[in-house]
Amino acid sequence: MSSFEHAVVFALSIPYNIPMSYKLIELQSVSKSFGDLKVLDNFSLYVRENEFLTLLGPSGCGKTTLLRILGGFETPDEGRILFDGVDITDLAPNKRQLNTVFQKDTLFYHMSVAENIAFGLRIRHASKALIKEKTDYALHLVGLDGFADRMPDSLSGGQAQRIAIARAIVNEPKVLLLDEPLSALDLKLRQDMQYELIRLKEELGITFIYVTHDQEEALTMSDSIVVMNAGRIQQIGTPEDIYNEPKNAFTADFIGDGNIFDALMIHDQHVSILGTDFECVDTGFGENNPVDVIIRPEDVELVSPEKGTIEGIVKSVIFKGVHYEMDVDAHNYHWLVHSTKMVPEGTPVGILVDPFNIQVMHKPSRPDEEAANHA
């Protein structure tokens, strides 16, 4: 299994415990522009209490701006933000019951680790004993006991980011906002920290709103994922929903690998891909209607030429550890195929796809719904 598939499997195995009723944060038709650039376009979203919600999208999709609006560092041009039912759109950042972990290292470098963590408590005039107790507990939570007297410049990137998390959670916010906090870390550390964050969330029982452009990170950690592009929501759903049932070409293309086709819906349960009739399970897309279709590489089955729906030839094979990645040329389309069975280069093959694994999507109605690198 690739690390990505591993992430998917892990995401599927997270037990969900979402109270379905309570909306802790509600964004109502929020718009924000910088100059001529519309960063958020009539954006509405609610976040449930205790949820791990991830805002996922390419850079420039508006996710960081959204987080800054929640933190109080940007004011929306239009729309309101409700927190616990109260309008906080114009509330100063220091008055909000949420804390942010920024992408960059933002530790106060003239203060020790303990002073950094205690900053919020000192502002609130907590007693010395309480500060000590909470600081120690926060250090313990992030696994850095004994670091209290260190100075920030003696910490590694991962340690600094954990202290930043400790500095935020020590204030017991109702919501923790995380702006790509792991992006500066190397792969191994990033994966460790992903599990740490999930554990932290379980222990603290608070809402996490997490911003990332890394789909694997999103699939691993989230209860819900909000896929964003060009300031609009493309899809909201659980990690499996997003992966298995992408609603448009953008989501399909952004999450995981996929073969995306310009196709024609002949009628219910029949779609024409590359001029060949494929059986599918989708209905309600009309008759002879242009649609987009995505087939995941692991759902493409290679059989002997006469048994396949269409015929092709294997162009290249790359060994990826758990599986082989093959490029199959069929009807002038380069199919990306993942399989544990290797088919040598140059072999004629037939392509077979289970009807259940053909995902039909409406054609994009706006440019932001299109695949970023549509073939």
Binding site: F73, T106, F119, N171
Partner: protein
């Protein structure tokens, strides 16, 4: 290592224009006209007039430094807060006067402040009472502040623009108001800039004689003027050197004092400490 000889011109320069002159000052300071050893030049500082000149110099230069700090800090903050491009214009407004000669700038103030100068002429036209600024300690402080302000702004601007906006955001995020954020985060983080600025304003202000000459009109006598007179008006190079030596010690002491308040001392104040 093999290219060490490339440093030779610099070493030669340092020897000729820094090290040898300092030893000459020490030699002059510790000898009399006939060349024999004496403490009398140093002890000249003990004369009432000289003590008064030194005390006034300290007072005026400290005042000028503090005024510079108070004016420069908000300017540096505004400059550092502006997006690139827009601030070049504002920065130019402060740098532009520096392209003009220091003496000319000071003489311009003389013309402005004179009894029948520009300011008083305008006041008279407006039927307002004339002001006497020229030839007062106030005029000298004004001259110091005007001439040395850029040297306070620039190091402050440099250090403030290096403080990430996210750091102040973090403080706000953790519950600090704008004022608390300034006192607990921005101010302490800008300390190295303040120390550089204080050094770069205080030292030239303490030793100046040109500003006093032009704006003090001989009525304000600072230690710099006393030393200048010893050298130029031919009184005695020996006494001038003795007083210079004492002044250097004062500068050194003040720098050590300033550096003491710099927790992560980078040696900016007393120069080039490793």
């Amino acid at each position: 290592m093999r290219r060490r000889w490339l440093a030779a011109p610099f070493l030669l320069w340092s020897a000729a224009f820094i090290i040898i002159p300092i030893f000459m000052i020490i030699w002059f300071a510790l000898t009399d006209q006939s060349g024999s050893f004496t403490w009398s030049n140093i002890l000249e500082m003990g004369l009432a007039d000289n003590i008064k000149a030194l005390a006034l110099a300290l007072l005026l230069s400290i005042a000028a430094t503090l005024i510079c700090l108070v004016i420069a800090y908000p300017i540096a903050m505004i400059l550092a807060g502006k997006k690139n491009g827009r601030n070049t214009m504002i920065a130019m407004l402060f740098i532009l006067p520096m392209w003009m000669n220091f003496l000319l700038r000071t003489m311009a103030w003389q013309t402005l402040l004179e009894k029948n100068g520009v300011i008083n002429t305008i006041l008279r036209v407006l039927h307002l009472p004339a002001v006497t600024i020229i030839n007062t300690p106030g005029a000298v402080i004004l001259g110091m502040v005007y001439n040395f302000l850029p040297f306070m702004i620039l190091p402050l601007y440099t250090v403030l623009s290096k403080i990430d906006r996210e750091i102040t955001y973090s403080a706000r995020d953790l519950g600090a108001g704008p004022f608390q954020t300034f006192v607990k985060i921005t101010l302490p983080l800008s300390k190295p800039g303040m120390i550089s600025g204080i050094t770069m304003v205080f030292v030239p202000a303490l030793t100046t004689f040109v500003i006093t000459d032009l704006l003090g009109g001989g009525k304000v006598q600072l230690i710099g003027n006393t030393i200048e007179q010893e050298f130029i008006q031919g009184s005695s190079w020996h006494v001038g050197s003795g007083l210079s030596l004492i002044l250097m010690i004062f500068v050194f002491i003040s720098m050590v004092l300033v550096a003491k308040y710099d927790p992560q001392s980078t040696g900016t104040a007393i120069g080039g400490r490793p």
